[in-house]
Symmetry: C2
Subunit: 318 residues, 2 copies
């Protein structure tokens, strides 16, 4: 039996490579950076996209000839690697579904509570050594609309419900416990918190635009932990400036890292964080362990979990 070759698209230092020691003797591990990817792809049976922010796979994927039979990305979204050639071929694509759900849900809860309790202003006043009592908002009894009914959206909904928030989940198509996309505007119009946890696909790109911010309540807050291009960023800045909505928090952006001259850094009522919502201590080890687990199934010819529907751009189903 020929040895399997696993090619790892490494992330730039200081990010450590994945711990693949348990594959020793069973697979040949090759490492590459973005520049070397195209030359090495034809040698690989398996590609592990460890540098999940890279779009090098999309750029380097061979239109024909030898290529990996399986691509795994250490991320929930696959938007950065999908391309027509990858979608059309018989290569299986899997993602890191499951690793980020609960951490991201906690992060969203942190944002909702911080915004309700006016924590950003409290920290500002502390810097000024200024004692200014304010009334803050209850979270229990408010309404959230969580857009994206995958495991992340569902974890967000569970956590918000545990805090007493009435939460509606919106997916592409209706199913038990999930509203279909045709109900989105109605639900946005009554939400205190709009949380975007959708995958980035051709259907969802730019879905949060001026019209949708216009539908929301002036007291509403918008939170995006999905992907940057789900939001028309200029429209969000305008909506905040005109007070169409009360505030927002973005963890993801069309261009990451966010350029220093972006108007988003200083948009009124906008909290900016550096794509960290799912990244809790130990997350890289979990991502590595998840790949090993999938590898065991793949090598044994067992069915793979987390298989992405390459046309839709996410793992379908519950």
């Amino acid at each position: 039996m020929a040895t399997t070759t696993v090619l790892v698209l490494d992330a730039a230092p200081p990010t450590p490579p994945p711990r693949l020691g348990s594959l020793t003797g069973r697979a040949r591990i090759l490492h590459t950076d973005e520049a070397g990817l195209a030359a090495r792809l034809p040698l690989a049976d398996v590609l592990l996209v460890w540098d999940f922010a890279s779009d090098a796979v999309r750029r380097a994927w061979p239109g024909e000839g030898s290529r990996p039979r399986w691509v795994h990305t250490a991320s929930a979204g696959v938007d950065h690697l999908m391309c027509p050639e990858l979608a059309a071929c018989d290569t299986v694509v899997t993602n890191a579904r499951g690793v980020f759900d609960e951490p991201i849900a906690e992060y969203v809860a942190a944002l909702v509570l911080a915004l309700a309790k006016d924590l950003p202003r409290t920290l500002e006043l502390q810097r000024e050594r200024s004692w200014r009592h304010r009334e803050s908002r209850r979270v229990a009894g408010t309404r959230a609309c969580v857009v994206g009914s995958g495991p992340i959206g569902r974890a967000v909904a569970r956590t918000l419900k545990a805090l007493g928030v009435t939460t509606a989940l919106v997916g592409r198509a209706p199913r038990p416990g999930v509203h279909g996309a045709e109900e989105l505007d109605r639900l946005l119009a009554r939400a205190d918190w709009v949380v975007c946890a959708a995958p980035l696909t051709d259907d969802t790109r730019g879905m949060f635009d001026a019209r949708r911010f216009g539908v929301m309540q002036p007291s509403a807050h918008f939170i995006n932990i999905g992907r940057g291009p789900l939001v028309v960023e200029d429209d969000l800045v305008a909506a905040l400036s005109k007070r169409w909505i009360a505030g927002a928090a973005l963890d993801v952006f069309a261009h990451e890292p966010l350029p220093g001259d972006s108007p988003l850094w200083a948009a009124p009522g906008l909290l900016v964080s550096p794509h960290m919502s799912g990244d809790t201590v130990g997350w890289r080890d979990e991502l590595g362990a998840q790949f090993i687990e999938l590898y065991e199934a793949w090598a044994a010819g067992r069915p793979l979990r987390n298989v992405v529907d390459k046309e839709r751009g996410y793992v379908p189903g519950h």
Copy 2:
């Protein structure tokens, strides 16, 4: 029947007086500020301490002669009004037990999540337009020790448990679901989050001192939403400076408003907020409505809820 006189110790503007319109025709309502309190106390059957931050009652309470038969304070703590003369006489004291429980629990959850997710640093980096990804902490699976087993402490424990935090409640004496004070140090030593929700009494004053901060883990965070003097503030500043603990958040202080030159404003890893944890939109209306409800019972000769044990300094029982 003689008309009942209700004396209201008003708060300074801009705080509005309580809405007591529903007592019209049944009670004579007198208003006073701190300066006029001593002269008016002998005229009153009932005293409503609306200015709950004032210690004027303690200073003005008559040692003998005519005095109110019932004092209600629009606060959970009674430390600011209790004095030996009030404790010794037959005047009934009630508090605002119940109004603040859930709001404060949400506030504590906001602090725990904000500290776990490093939100203060994120806001600092945003001001500098600096993109700096960090790993943050999971909240689920951590341990909290909530000191104070009254309704506020119990609400805090419930909310933290809903977020997956293993939570121990500590009261004066052990009872089902509550650890006794003799277990405090053992529980502090293993807690990731120490939340102080205790009443201020002779037993609890200064309970969080250098020794207790020394018992905590270097990774622990301390949160006080009880009363300022429960903490030896200099010891907390020293503990933070020496990194005995990882961080803290104080909503209450020995001197309020916190003076501009207090070292607490700039202590490393300390979040300062202006005694606002329980004050959500509508809270003053709730406090007024609660007094009316108690008044109806008192006027009808029915038993009063929220009766403070004047020796202990809080409402005992479950």
